[in-house]
Symmetry: C2
Subunit: 204 residues, 2 copies
DNA sequence: ACCTGAACACCGTTCAAGT
DNA sequence: ACCTGAACACCGTTCAAGT
């Protein structure tokens, strides 16, 4: 076969198939991707520059899954919660994608727009000067950590052999899987917001 | 050559060479590693089960670089700061290792011991029940995020094209590189501790 | 016990050839 | 413009062969 009347491959199909593979196996490869779509490996390069661009397609898809809602009218605490929550929410459906994205730090316009909203929110809260950037980094660290936490296997949170009493106690109360991650996220969001509030009143 | 009188390879040499490669290139491979040590690729398998174990060796090395100090006598806020700081400190010398470690979630005894200290510290602070696990996850998310932040390239924090006023303002005040990451980490640590303190007084 | 070289299955990317 | 098959350089892992 050569050039077909209509293209056999679309960016959407590439993204779908790659995301399926990531969901199922935790990774993807060009050969497997091609087989999924039912096409030869090399033809993918007619639509995409390479593996990295496919990762970018998936990043965009996940960001689109939970569109960033407008927050400029909201009180800063609500705005901040909304932004972090919407960032994390896309990954709840594709948790295994998160670890693959930390390797490359690409800045597409959607991500920059999110940082801009974050910066505005933090200024509105009362931060200024260097503290704005530090606060962005702090929120970012928590958001990335929370996304990665979604991909954490159950086993990590299984009680270890005795000799770790406090840890065993903590894990004894643990709900499992998604529930544990969600509770931890809500808790962390409270801590983050309360901590920023505290930093403001203490005078930075 | 066959079996030499003294082994040509040691675990220490493997770890050194792999860490050098990660520092220089952001990754490592078995062929490159073998070339560094001056040995054949396959002989590495006489000392190590595979690539994953080499990653584990590097994780241990980095943990050893900043040994977890005893914290059981300290006030919980100081103890928490000390634990998070010591976790992060190892990565300051090998920042590019952090992204490689998030892919695999292994639990060696050193890491479990750190979680146990964390759990004890949080109990001492006054957390109980499910909150202990949530607080561990929160601290963990921040610590991982902060370690990854060390590997963030300068470019990410370069001011983007105009149209993002708040972000441009924030980046205008930015010190560069390691300095920015350090300030952000100290800021984040304050936020984390203040947030946990707030959560305690609000009554969880 | 420890090293070597050859082999295998897999990977990302390129490119001439086809329509 | 879009697809194919062959090719290339790289990778992780295994294994028979040597001492």
């Amino acid at each position: 076969m050569a050039r077909p009347p209509a293209p056999l491959i679309t960016l959407g199909a590439i993204t779908d198939a790659a995301l399926d593979l990531v969901d199922e196996t935790g990774d993807f490869s060009l050969p497997r991707l091609a087989k999924r779509i039912g096409v030869s490996q090399s033809s993918i390069y007619n639509h995409v520059a390479g593996r990295e661009e496919i990762l970018e397609l998936m990043r965009r898809r996940v960001l689109e899954l939970s569109p960033r809602p407008p927050v400029d009218g909201l009180p800063w605490e609500t705005a901040l919660r909304t932004l972090v929550r919407s960032y994390r929410d896309g990954f709840t459906r594709h948790p295994r994608l998160a670890p693959l994205l930390v390797l490359q730090t690409v800045m597409d316009t959607e991500v920059i727009a999110m940082y801009e909203e974050l910066a505005q929110t933090l200024e509105r809260a009362g931060f200024s000067g260097r503290d704005v950037l530090s606060a962005i980094s702090t929120v970012d660290a928590f958001a990335i950590g929370a996304a990665l936490d979604l991909a954490a296997p159950e086993v990590v949170w299984a009680p270890p052999s005795p000799g770790y009493p406090a840890l065993v106690r903590a894990l004894g109360h643990a709900p499992s899987g998604a529930q544990r991650a969600r509770e931890a996220f809500e808790f962390g969001l409270d801590v983050l917001v309360a901590g920023l509030r505290g930093r403001l009143h203490a005078g930075g």
